[in-house]
């Protein structure tokens, strides 16, 4: 059915797909943002006369985008989230406001947050004022017309969540970092950076940043932190284990959080997490909930780690070596759930063991495979 309309905003979709494929968009948040923007275009231009048409259309777009770059899990996540929100909006609109709130009673995040005010999931603005007529043969567009404003708001919610993710994650920073603590971090995660900086306003503490070869993004992190007035040390990756005994907490970012509570994070994270485990140092992961991915890495799928080009390890100009040496340069590490103590998200703190629950709440089951 959707094919008959083709895909609205096909150009935008293809563009994004190509950019994802060509790695012109990197980073989970950026990819997620771009995806939401494209989805919004698609919905804005879409013509549909019932909810199934819209959903299948979005799923198709989502599938294309997710397949374009399977390593950027957030693309799929955002599509699922949008689908979830749209369904919710539709349900609210169709069946009245009664049905929806009951779902949230058992929300584990709510449970853990213990009364922390959660963003109103069911917007009161979409109270059953809309009269929905699906598959109206006389006016096929009426359904779309009626629903679109609500849908736009649903998408806007996702967008807002993405845009405020750093603020929300770092809101609780001062509760996690105490004065005179020594924190170890690795890589240059924007979330962690915001988190540490926010804590820096209230606490006096020290950060040790590992260089994080071969990208050496630790250098940027260290510069940024010390510019913010936080006492910062930059250490080589090899000394992570040696200094671990003095570290109070390991705070790292994530690329994607899997349903079992494990995660993909920048190379070196596994090293840091394992060293922390050996010293029983708590490992704290700062992340937005858009990184929650309904997937597992049960079989430690080799390709899932995303292998980059060897040039940062071995210069291409080393002609003789290039011919004789196979260089493997994984971009991510898989850090198992047993190595992580807590995930600090923009929506509360969660132990790895409850991630599956969050995943189930955030997305609809039927969207697990787009």
């Amino acid at each position: 059915m959707s094919s008959e309309h083709a895909v609205p905003a096909a150009r935008a979709v293809e563009n994004l797909a190509a950019k994802l494929r060509r790695r012109q968009i990197v980073g989970s948040r950026e990819a997620a943002l771009e995806t939401v923007l494209v989805l919004r275009q698609v919905v804005a231009k879409a013509r549909f006369s019932n909810i199934d048409q819209l959903v299948s259309l979005l799923r198709e777009v989502g599938k294309r985008l997710a397949e374009a770059q399977p390593k950027e899990h957030t693309v799929g996540n955002v599509v699922r989230k949008v689908l979830h929100n749209i369904r919710e909006e539709y349900n609210t609109a169709a069946k009245g406001a009664a049905a929806a709130p009951t779902r949230n009673v058992f929300s584990i995040s709510k449970f853990v947050l213990q009364g922390q005010p959660r963003k109103q999931v069911i917007a009161p603005k979409s109270e059953a004022t809309i009269s929905l007529r699906e598959n109206d043969p006389d006016e096929p567009d009426s359904f779309a017309k009626a629903l679109k404003p609500v849908l736009m708001e649903a998408i806007q919610d996702v967008l807002d969540e993405l845009e405020t993710v750093y603020d929300n994650v770092s809101k609780t920073a001062k509760d996690h970092i105490h004065s005179d603590e020594i924190i170890l971090t690795i890589g240059h995660s924007k979330t962690v950076e915001a988190f540490l900086k926010s804590a820096g306003h209230y606490r006096n503490y020290t950060v040790i940043v590992a260089e994080t070869g071969p990208s050496y993004s630790g250098h940027e992190m260290a510069t940024s932190l010390s510019n913010a007035g936080i006492s910062t040390f930059l250490v080589p990756d090899s000394s992570i284990y040696a200094i671990m005994s003095r570290v109070n907490k390991v705070i790292i970012g994530a690329h994607a959080i899997l349903a079992n509570g494990g995660m993909f994070a920048i190379t070196g994270s596994l090293l840091a997490a394992t060293a922390a485990r050996a010293h029983s140092t708590p490992v704290v992961v700062c992340t937005g909930q858009f990184k929650l991915t309904p997937a597992w890495n049960l079989y430690h799928d080799y390709g899932a780690l995303d292998f980059a080009d060897p040039s940062s390890v071995l210069g291409y100009e080393e002609g003789l070596l290039v011919d004789k040496v196979d260089v493997i340069n994984p971009y991510y590490d898989y850090v198992g759930p047993e190595l992580v103590d807590v995930f600090i998200t923009n929506d509360g703190d969660h132990p790895p063991s409850s991630i599956y629950r969050l995943v189930k709440e955030s997305y609809d089951d039927e969207d697990q495979h787009l």
């Binding site: 494929r21 790695r23 275009q41 770059q69 292998f307 040039s311 291409y316 100009e317």
Partner: protein, 984 residues
């Protein structure tokens, strides 16, 4: 943000920004992939299961190109069809692809560019690439830089994208590369010189002005030229104006840079990040496949952004398997690392695959072994077959137990029977009538097939029963027209073949190729090489072992020379046949010499050779023979001195060298006598030649050549004895002379005639006697004789040189220290085991030379030696030779090693350097000292200056004994000298 605004923004962007255009030259204009390219164009060959064209499109799309023109010639229909059916022509791809079919008469990239001009499709700066590009470089970034530069400098017409690599890199073409001279500040390309692998090119010549205008230059021979050019609109029109530009690099870039009229600049963009390479030959096909599989092209890798749209799983060890689970692989089959296997492929029990690319729907039989094999779609490999380092086309069936050894190319649809055995580097295709599809370039193909079919009798490979294959000959027959591009010459092509290693070219064939060359090449070539050798070997042997020297000289007999030789030969042929006047012939020769920029000695060799070879042979009658020679020398002899410089000593030497190798050895004495008679050679010159160590075949390898030289020398000796005799006889009367004559006639019959000097002595008796008395007892060796400058030109210019070199030294002193900091990149970036130990001195030495060149304000030629075996560092040494007005930078390290063969890969560069550095001190000091003794140095310098002017159009001026030696052959000798001069 409402959605509309973002859409509006996009539109704005689209209209504001100019559409970035790209032109793809989809035709290769060569036949390196034959016979794989029988029936389809090269750009449709798959690499890692996607056609080259797809890779190119992807590379361009990655760079944000929006409009692409594909220039196709051969199999244009196939290309068009491929484009139409590819994902690129879908509207959503964001690419607008326009195939343009050029005329069949388009034989070079230059023609294609002219075609682009006539089509008038180019509206702004555009990207020019070839249809076989694999790149992930952000070309749009380069375009931005280019456009920015254009804003301030309208003459910056082109930006060449190059990629840094080591000298010895699998992806760097050994057969075809280039030396770039860059200004490191502006990244302007100041000079470009193409380099071919065989015959090894050892020199790059750089105009001296470059050093005058740019305080710092980089000479780089470590760049992969990936043929991505950002061209401005003028470029096609420049091609239109210069109808003879064929190759974009060798003709266009070189032409633009060397032209005094165009005043255009070319810039280089050295890509530090990203990957770019061209599948220019089967060797680079192999290398780039490996690069893709080992993810150098990331994010353009099979599991991520496969241009063919396939999806692959990336497994441990860089193994890629089609994602759709359609591969049927036996449990016992082994798949090694760096392998790509396409969808629907079946791999049977016990098969072993490593380092290979296997297409879709292939069948690999039980126990088959594939190592480094590139197998296109739908191919069947029989049980137990072995395929190594070869490319196998699509739809091929290789029978059970067959063996396909290294370097084979098997074209589409070939069937090899059971137990077929292909020799290494065999190229196999179907028989002619089986190859369907109209051949596009009719006649050419026709000829090609005839050659192939004629070859079938001599095939040694076993094709197996039921085979439909023909084996292609290894090389084009020699009699093919002489204009075969050097790049395409067989030996050079070997450097571009898959699986062909350098050691192979030296070791595998019967007799090494280096020897081959001197044996098989026609006598002319060999002789000129040897001529070059004869002088210098003795001189360089001071510091260097002999065999090395000889190889260097083989090296130097490079491309330009051979071209020049054939030209001169033709010119002289015409002159002789049509009876031109000596004046006209000399003008022609001078022009030729200018055009090819070869040393004077080469011209002399050619002229002497022409005369010698044209003397009609009169059997049995010595007197008649003598008159024939006399006539010949009288008619054409003067030409020898009219070629731009007079150097009788060299004339004799060249004559001896030529005769020594020619069947006309017996004529040497007579011709020498005739020359003497005609006043072209004086007695002193003969003595001087005779005294030279090289004339006595010193330092030569024993062989016919040495014997010849020795014979010549002994003839000369006899003549000199006669001179001596005459001298003493002069007083006693002329009667004895006649007696002598009689005696000599007998000798002459033995093949050594020297009576003419005697007769001449009669005529110019008085003069002679004077001179003789002066020279006195010096006899055979007049080295260091204190002759007056009017008499001996050679002496004179030696003196000149001494004075000059001292002067240059003084002037070079100060600037030399200034440039010490700068590095010549070629030296600096070559990676070698001993690299770290490399002392800084050689580098600064080079620069000293360079600065000296700038000081002495006349045109300079810098010879930059490429190290054929790049595992070693180069050390440059230099000569400033004012009389020659040349600066010669030669590689001392090169000189110390048998580089062309590349045989020994474990030299001790540091030692070699030290050796050269110390070794070279001595000779030059010696000469300096000698020359110091000559007090008249300044005076004679002036004189030589005058004589230089007097010698007219020859830019070489008066070619002294030493000078010409350096000029023609002894680059390295000179090089060492000067390096010393500098370092002092």
């Amino acid at each position: 943000m409402p959605p509309k605004s973002s859409a509006g923004k996009e539109k704005d962007l689209a209209t504001e920004e100019e559409v970035l255009q790209a032109v793809i030259l989809a035709d290769s204009f060569n036949k390196r992939f034959r016979p794989l390219t029988v029936g389809k164009p090269r750009c449709l060959l798959p690499i890692c299961n996607a056609t080259l064209l797809d890779w190119t499109f992807e590379s361009l799309a990655l760079a944000g190109v929006q409009e692409i023109f594909v220039i196709c010639r051969s199999y244009a229909d196939l290309v068009k069809k491929a484009i139409r059916e590819s994902k690129w022509s879908r509207p959503s791809s964001g690419l607008k692809i326009v195939p343009i079919i050029t005329a069949k008469e388009t034989f070079s990239p230059g023609d294609a560019m002219r075609d682009i001009y006539t089509h008038g499709i180019i509206t702004s700066d555009f990207v020019l690439v070839t249809g076989d590009l694999v790149s992930n470089i952000r070309i749009d970034e380069v375009v931005r830089v280019h456009k920015e530069r254009r804003r301030t400098n309208k003459d910056a017409i082109m930006t060449i994208v190059v990629k840094e690599s080591g000298l010895q890199h699998r992806t760097r073409s050994r057969g075809e590369s280039g030396v770039f001279v860059l200004d490191p500040d502006t990244s302007e390309c100041l000079h470009y010189e193409s380099v071919i692998g065989y015959p090894p090119k050892t020199h790059a010549e750089i105009p001296r002005e470059i050093f005058a205008e740019h305080p710092e230059v980089e000479i780089r021979n470590d760049l992969i030229d990936c043929c991505i050019d950002i061209c401005s609109v003028e470029v096609p029109s420049l091609f239109q104006d210069n109808f003879d530009y064929a190759d974009i690099r060798r003709d266009f870039v070189y032409g633009v840079l060397t032209s005094d009229l165009l005043m255009k600049n070319v810039h280089c963009y050295i890509a530090k990040e990203g990957y770019a390479a061209r599948v220019a030959d089967t060797r680079s096909y192999d290398a780039i496949s490996k690069d893709i599989l080992s993810r150098w092209t990331y994010p353009l890798v099979p599991d991520n952004n496969h241009p063919g749209g396939h999806a692959y799983d990336h497994l441990r060890g860089n193994k890629y398997m089609a994602k759709d689970n359609t591969i049927i692989m036996s449990r016992t089959a082994r798949v090694g690392p760096n392998t790509l296997i396409g969808a629907h492929t079946t791999i049977a029990d016990g098969a072993s695959i490593s380092g290979s690319v296997i297409g879709q729907r292939c069948k690999i039989g039980p126990g088959a072994v594939l190592k480094g094999a590139y197998i296109f779609d739908d191919t069947e490999i029989g049980a137990g077959a072995l395929v190594e380092n070869s490319i196998v086309g699509s739809g091929v069936r290789i029978g059970e137990g067959s063996t396909v050894r290294t370097g084979c190319l098997i074209a589409d649809g070939v069937v090899l029977g059971k137990n077929a055995r292909l020799a290494r580097f065999d190229r196999v295709s179907r028989r002619r009538y089986l190859v369907d599809g109209e051949s596009t370039d009719g006649e050419e193909d026709e000829e090609e097939w005839e050659v192939v079919e004629a070859h079938q009798d001599s095939v040694t490979s076993v094709l197996g029963e039921g085979s439909n294959a023909v084996v292609w000959p290894q090389s084009h027959s020699e009699d093919e027209d002489e204009e075969v591009d050097e790049v395409e010459s067989y030996n050079n092509q070997r450097l571009m073949r898959i699986g062909d290693t350098a050691s192979d070219i030296d070791l595998s064939d019967a007799g090494s190729v280096t020897e081959d060359e001197s044996d098989s090449e026609d006598e002319d070539d060999a002789s000129s090489i040897m001529n070059g050798l004869s002088r210098t070997s003795s001189m360089t042997s001071v510091s260097l072992p002999d065999p090395d020297v000889s190889t260097i000289h083989n090296l130097q007999a490079s491309a330009a020379d051979s071209e020049f030789r054939s030209e001169v030969k033709q010119s002289l042929d015409r002159a002789f046949a049509e009876g031109h006047s000596v004046d006209n012939a000399s003008v022609e020769l001078k022009t030729l010499r200018m055009a090819s920029n070869v040393p004077l000695r080469r011209v002399r060799e050619a002229v002497v050779e022409a005369i010698v070879e044209r003397v009609p042979i009169v059997e049995g009658d010595a007197a008649k023979q003598r008159t024939e020679i006399g006539r010949m020398v009288a008619r054409w002899g003067p030409l020898i001195d009219r070629i731009g410089g007079v150097d009788p000593v060299e004339t004799v030497e060249v004559l001896a060298c030529h005769c020594a190798q020619s069947s006309r050895l017996p004529l040497f004495g007579q011709i020498l006598a005739a020359l003497y008679q005609a006043d072209i050679v004086e007695e002193d010159d003969i003595r001087a030649w005779h005294a030279q160590a090289s004339s006595q075949a010193e330092g030569q390898k024993p062989g016919p050549y040495m014997d010849g030289l020795e014979k010549c020398w002994s003839v000369g000796k006899m003549m000199i004895e006669q001179f001596d005799e005459q001298e003493s006889d002069d007083e006693s009367g002329e009667g004895e002379d006649e007696e002598e004559e009689e005696e000599e006639e007998e000798e002459e019959e033995k093949g050594s005639a020297a009576q003419v000097p005697a007769t001449k002595a009669e005529s110019s008796e008085e003069e002679e006697s004077e001179e003789e008395s002066e020279e006195g007892s010096e006899g055979g060796s007049n080295e260091g004789s204190e002759e007056s400058s009017e008499e001996s030109e050679s002496e004179e210019s030696e003196v000149t040189k001494a004075a000059v070199s001292e002067k240059t030294l003084a002037s070079a002193d100060v600037p030399a220290t200034k440039v010490e900091q700068t590095e010549t990149k070629t030296t600096a970036t070559v990676s070698t085991p001993a690299g770290a130990a490399e002392p800084a001195e050689p580098v600064s030495t080079t620069h000293a030379a360079v600065v000296a060149a700038v000081d002495s304000t006349s045109t300079a030629t810098i010879k930059q030696v490429e190290v054929a075996d790049p595992a070693r560092k180069q050390v440059a040494a230099a000569v400033i030779e004012e009389t020659q007005r040349t600066v010669v930078v030669a590689s001392a390290d090169e000189a110390a090693k048998p580089a062309p063969s590349g045989l020994s890969t474990t030299p001790l560069p540091a030692q070699a350097i030290a050796k050269v550095a110390t070794g070279s001190t001595q000779p030059s000091r010696k000469t300096n000292n000698e020359e110091d003794e000559e007090d008249e140095s300044e005076e004679s310098e002036e004189e030589s200056g005058e004589s230089e002017e007097a010698s007219g159009s020859g830019s070489e001026g008066s070619s002294s004994e030493e000078g010409s030696g350096e000029d023609s052959t002894g680059r390295d000798v000179g090089g060492e000298d000067s390096s010393e001069e500098e370092s002092e």
